[in-house]
Symmetry: C2
Subunit: 306 residues, 2 copies
């Protein structure tokens, strides 16, 4: 009844969620804009290039040397950003491993021998940076409400929340968030154990643990890893560990090994238009655009630098 | 500084999200209950056994014959539930394949040859069952608000939403939801292409496409599949397809091949207590229990029948 071509085509509409600026002619101006329209019409000034000192590149020790690119959020976790830079610079994670992949939750890496590896210039632990002052941030509020916070939005591309009454702002635990594992004490983490969210947003962790950034590229190298069968998704045998070849700061790599990525700015008219296309899906397939979007379901587009 | 044992232990608290009733002594009554406490204290009457005519078992054609168990939701999609039973009974999916795994979105299966496979007793298409009447449902409302709907909660273990003004109720696109792919028309799907949500809840699909159930067991066999590199996560080469050995109704299997699962009832005092432990995380690790939970972040526990 349906050709595969047609099936694929309609599936595009059926389940459109791609964040990339895929080819698509701009809609006639009579029609409301779609997400693709907005991205296609974006100007170079709508995009920002992350600082090389804020980009971490995790390279797995597999045949392809799969790479995961993360952006640090020093505006929210300045001490942890500094410490992660220090850990990267002393090659702390080289040869360590991903030890935990918990279904619908997190991928976690660190020292399988239990933090035995020496830290040199980096610190082992830091005070938690669970939230910060709400002032002094370029906060683009989302018009929709949130289940967990009085207000949500985006700061420099990072999904975030704000409580003006308390005067606090914090990063939200959305898919792809990069966090810093800790033990019982608020100050018991420092960055030698890191995790990335791979399931539905565990927002109950917000303000309980430090988020230090988010993955910009290569999530599929983490999210498609075999789930650990031990308690909480820990791998039960050392041979199951996913070895880490290196974790480096882009600034420390030769130009040829860096990644040239751009992130859609979240403080522009284009951003506002983009958000509206996520709140009201205007692709022909949609029958009932919801008119709402949750902070973790908007998606901040990332592209290869043109 | 931390032994691996300690690290694992504390990580348990750090990132507790397991839905299973894992061993854990009940807390002294002075302390607020944790999720484990509530499950440990549950009675057999707090659990229900899904009907064998509502359980679909997808068996992948890999070495292990990995199985994914799904429960149909005839209260919300009666015609699609019937049609999926008919498709299972005519062995429609045997030898077909998973053709699409889109990062942070869906896994989709069907006929790679584009619905060429004949249907016999089943129907190729059906009118969409995107929502139903809000009345006549055993709806356990969640006390928290929702970004997308006036009210959310659970019906027989399925995350659902309700709009009393419109008199509508519908299933929510949470992680593990089972949906029925469609083309442009609201009546263009029928069940020959199915998808399961593997990422952050794509709630913008609510009321735009038919949800027919949810995965109870075996999500990891779908969520850890390699992502497709084609548009929208389609596999680009036939050799990448993940072959399906069979999709059967549990009722049609010999007793030895069935699965004995139980789902926590969502209309009991235990359920209400469970939800409170998800809204207010009382495990010692938490510093700031949020006091909120979104409908896709509560989790309806599933266990092996004792």
């Amino acid at each position: 009844m349906q050709s595969i071509g047609k099936t694929c085509f309609t599936a595009m509409f059926a389940l459109l969620a791609t964040m990339s600026a895929t080819a698509s002619a701009a809609a006639p101006s009579a029609k409301p804009l779609t997400t693709s329209d907005v991205l296609d019409n974006s100007q170079s000034s709508d995009w920002r290039t992350p600082n090389a000192v804020d980009l971490l590149i995790l390279t797995l020790d597999d045949d392809d040397g799969a790479r995961v690119v993360m952006e640090l959020a020093p505006a929210f976790a300045p001490q942890h950003a500094d410490n992660l830079r220090a850990l990267a610079r002393e090659h702390y994670f080289d040869g360590l491993a991903i030890m935990r992949v918990q279904e619908n939750y997190v991928v976690q890496w660190g020292d399988p021998d239990g933090d035995k590896r020496e830290v040199r210039t980096a610190k082992r632990t830091l005070p938690g940076e669970f939230f910060r002052s709400a002032s002094g941030l370029n906060f683009s509020a989302l018009p929709d409400a949130d289940v967990y916070a009085p207000e949500v939005g985006y700061v420099d591309g990072f999904p975030a929340a704000r409580d003006r009454q308390r005067g606090q702002a914090w990063l939200a635990h959305c898919y792809a968030a990069l966090g810093v594992g800790r033990a019982m004490g608020a100050d018991s983490g420092g960055g030698t154990e890191l995790y990335v969210v791979i399931g539905h947003a565990p927002r109950h962790l917000d303000r309980n643990i430090t988020l230090a950034g988010r993955v910009l590229q290569g999530m599929e190298h983490l999210s498609a890893l075999p789930r650990g069968t031990g308690t909480l998704g820990f791998y039960e045998k050392p041979e199951q560990y996913v070895k880490i070849r290196s974790l480096r700061l882009a600034a420390d790599l030769p130009e040829s090994e860096r990644v040239a990525l751009q992130v859609l700015r979240t403080d522009t008219a284009t951003w506002k238009a983009y958000v509206e296309t996520r709140r009201f899906r205007r692709d022909a397939w949609f029958i009932e655009p919801t008119g709402h979007a949750d902070v973790c379901n908007v998606g901040v587009p990332v592209r290869a630098a043109p």
